[in-house]
């Protein structure tokens, strides 16, 4: 008799030096991070272990961010770390310093963790090669945003009890979305079926090579899904080029009551924020506490970031089977 285990039992633990993306992670490593995050999510803020006591975390954001940076900051502080926010807009980067020189400079300050957001794909990886600190990817260009995907996965797991076997639709501007890329990688690794929905200009057919189903019509793609994940559309950058207008986008790709009715009755609505009400999502759905878990995604964001910091600090070796 062979006994089959869910994919999450393979390589349970976490031994990476950096968290650069979902791509390098094994299902067991993702499951480990989610389990720890689930534990942190249940704690009162004062109860968290001071796993990062005496450590220094530098938040290095080359792109503007309020929510992600705050979330990393709060997560690190709950674990007892000292957090420094580097305001890149006023730093030497604006004076022409290269990324590598910035890395050298920061390295000399001996931080223990560096959280980086950068506008170009692969830039965080490049930094990680030059630094002694643990590097966490807070979003690199259109490449990956691993902690957002982990927060989304934890939110799904809390409501559905599992990820394996679910059907998830990710809708909107897939092409420019690091959130979509990290999510589709994570969800597939954990056994979910992923559908991508968007207009051809924002969803190239080449994504089929990543093992997902590509839909260009919302009504077909949403049918019987367990999760509807909406993405932010940068209307101001796209109107007239990649899409004709915001209102046309909402007409064909916006999430309203009629469209949501095509999904399973207990389907969850998610959005990584910030939302454009009336462009990709109708206001009443965003605020519907029965189906929308958008606020919970933010809350889980802090928990998974705590889990990531802790995992990097302790580097628990993987085991082959999860302890009962």
């Amino acid at each position: 008799m062979t006994q089959s285990f869910p994919p999450a039992t393979i390589g349970y633990g976490f031994s990476h030096a950096h968290l650069l993306g979902i791509d390098p992670l094994k299902p067991g490593e993702i499951a480990y991070l989610l389990d720890r995050a689930a534990y942190f999510a249940e704690l009162e803020p004062g109860e968290a272990p001071d796993a990062l006591a005496g450590s220094t975390v530098i938040n290095l954001f080359f792109e503007n961010s309020t929510r992600t940076r705050s979330s990393f900051e709060i997560a690190a502080q709950r674990l007892g770390a000292d957090v420094v926010n580097m305001d890149v807009a006023t730093s030497s980067v604006k004076k022409g310093e290269t990324l590598i020189d910035t890395a050298d400079t920061l390295n000399a300050m001996r931080p223990d963790f560096l959280v980086v957001r950068h506008g170009q794909a692969g830039a965080v990886k490049l930094l990680s090669r030059k630094l002694d600190a643990h590097v966490l990817n807070g979003g690199d260009g259109k490449h990956e945003h691993p902690t957002q995907a982990l927060a989304d996965a934890l939110t799904i797991r809390r409501h559905k009890g599992k990820i394996d076997g679910l059907t998830v639709a990710i809708c909107g501007d897939i092409r420019h979305s690091r959130v979509a890329r990290s999510n589709l990688l994570l969800l597939q690794k954990m056994g979910a079926r992923v559908r991508l929905i968007g207009p051809p200009t924002l969803l190239p057919n080449s994504y089929e090579a990543l093992g997902v189903e590509v839909y260009h019509r919302m009504d077909e793609g949403l049918r019987d899904v367990d999760i509807v994940m909406m993405l932010r559309l940068q209307v101001e950058r796209m109107a007239g080029t990649l899409i004709p207008s915001g209102r046309e986008f909402f007409r064909f790709y916006g999430l309203d009551r009629d469209r949501l009715a095509l999904a399973k009755p207990d389907a969850l609505v998610m959005h990584p924020g910030p939302m454009n009400r009336g462009v990709e999502i109708a206001s009443d759905i965003a605020d519907d506490l029965d189906q929308s878990v958008i606020r919970e995604q933010v809350e889980m964001g802090v928990a998974v970031r705590m889990a990531c910091f802790e995992a990097l600090a302790t580097r628990r070796a993987p085991t082959t089977l999860r302890a009962a």
Binding site: L99, I100, A121, G122, H143, P204, S206
Partner: protein
């Protein structure tokens, strides 16, 4: 007073002149004056006798697509250094692209290239002229004056030629010079450079250039060639569809020639891996089916020429995020060995050597070949001696290299340019 030099005990290999066997040559001044088979006693009246010890003597290699860093970026490589690196790689003639800064769009700039390489310490440095001023695709460059100054042909560098009316006027006018125009550069306005659209681009979160970009440019340019009757050379065909378009055009009887780069015949986009900027090239590396089509194109003669597409880039412009990195790789020193490796992939030795010698000579109307009265441009090489390619063994100042640790064969022993020994392996 010139000396007579005898090179004996070599294997002559020059398919265009029907040589494939033991023999030797006699050089006098800058010319070959005699070619003989076997090992006869012509030695008697030579001043200098060189024993080739059975190595292979080839017509000097011609690399018809090299990017100069001078003027503009001398810190990467001067013209003199390019000439010496080429000689080290067995290349006797370099044909440079005009896209320097400023571009080679005036006759003085053509003179400057040969002037800067003087000293006889390296390959013969030739250049193409810019088709449009500054390679910007707007105004016609002084094509007639460039030709008079010695430009071997025209190109717009890596930039597409510009709007249709500009390109058709430029080609129409270029016809009057009788020189070849290099065409088929894909439109850079499509997508982000450096990576081909498709699975890899989707994985890496990069826009990627659509695979169609190259073949659409080639097909457009083929129509313009048909319309204007200009002599055209599609020098960097790197996709399966591009090779097919060239094959069809040749079958239609269009008098065009074509070529490809060594990287696109030996590497795929796998080399880009995790944002390796050294493998960021222009045109971008492609999936294996394109590489196979390119090799097949070389094997069946659809692609006439093979080039190094040498482009030195310093670390500061490669050790940056992928999107910021400049495309290009160095190639002069390893070009010959990598070209020979294609023999194991189905391209005959005769085809390969033609692609490096007689084919580019024909395209750019250069004298070449092992025959009496041809220029004494010769490459002596041991085609079978194994070597391991390594960055540590490069003499280039720039190290944007993609073949670390790759086993290869073919070692250049001597390079002659105009009868002068410009490189000798120690």
């Amino acid at each position: 007073m010139s000396k007579r030099t005898l090179i004996r005990n070599v294997h002559l290999f020059d398919p265009a002149n029907g040589h494939d066997g033991p023999g030797g040559v006699v050089l006098y001044g800058d010319r070959i004056v005699a070619v003989f088979g076997g090992d006869s006693a012509i030695a008697a009246d030579a001043d200098v006798v060189i024993d080739g010890q059975g190595a292979t003597l080839l017509p000097g290699l011609i690399d018809s697509r090299v990017h100069l860093s001078e003027p503009g970026l001398e810190y990467r490589e001067t013209v003199g250094e390019t000439a010496r690196l080429a000689a080290r790689g067995g290349i006797s003639t370099v044909i440079a692209q005009p896209s320097t800064a400023p571009a080679i769009d005036r006759p003085q700039a053509v003179y400057a290239v040969s002037h800067r390489s003087q000293g006889g310490k390296g390959a013969r440095m030739q250049t193409l002229g810019a088709l449009t001023v500054g390679c910007e695709g707007k105004e016609l460059a002084e094509l007639g004056l460039l030709a008079e100054a010695g430009a071997l042909g025209f190109s717009n560098g890596t930039a597409p030629v510009g709007p249709l009316d500009t390109i058709s006027r430029a080609l129409n006018y270029a016809r009057s010079t009788g020189l070849t125009v290099c065409l088929g550069q894909m439109d850079a306005v499509w997508g982000e450079p450096g990576v081909i659209g498709g699975e890899l681009a989707a994985r890496m979160g990069l826009g990627g250039i659509p695979a169609l970009a190259e073949v659409m440019s080639i097909e457009r340019d083929l129509r313009l060639v048909e319309m204007t009757g200009v002599q055209a050379h599609f020098d960097m065909v790197t996709s399966a569809e591009g090779v097919n378009a060239i094959r069809d055009a040749k079958a239609r009887g269009l008098p065009i020639t074509a070529g490809t780069g060594i990287a696109h015949a030996t590497l795929t986009d796998i080399a880009i891996g995790d944002y390796r900027t050294h493998a960021k090239l222009h045109p971008p590396l492609r999936p294996d089916r394109d590489r196979l089509a390119v090799v097949q194109g070389l094997a069946d003669g659809t692609l006439d020429t093979l080039v190094s597409d040498h482009r030195p880039i310093d670390t500061d412009h490669k050790r940056v995020p992928f999107e910021q990195a400049e495309p290009g790789m160095v190639g002069l020193e390893t070009f010959f060995s990598l070209a020979l490796s294609l023999e194991d992939r189905g391209v005959s030795k005769a085809r390969l050597i033609s692609a490096l010698t007689s084919a580019p000579a024909r395209v750019f109307a250069l004298e070449s070949g092992i025959r009496p009265n041809a220029p004494a441009d010769l490459t002596l090489a041991d085609l079978d001696r194994p070597r391991r390619l390594s960055e540590a063994r490069l003499h280039s100042r720039c190290r944007n290299f993609n073949y670390e640790g790759i086993p290869a064969r073919g070692v250049v022993l001597k390079t002659y340019v105009g009868g002068k020994l410009v490189f000798e392996r120690a």
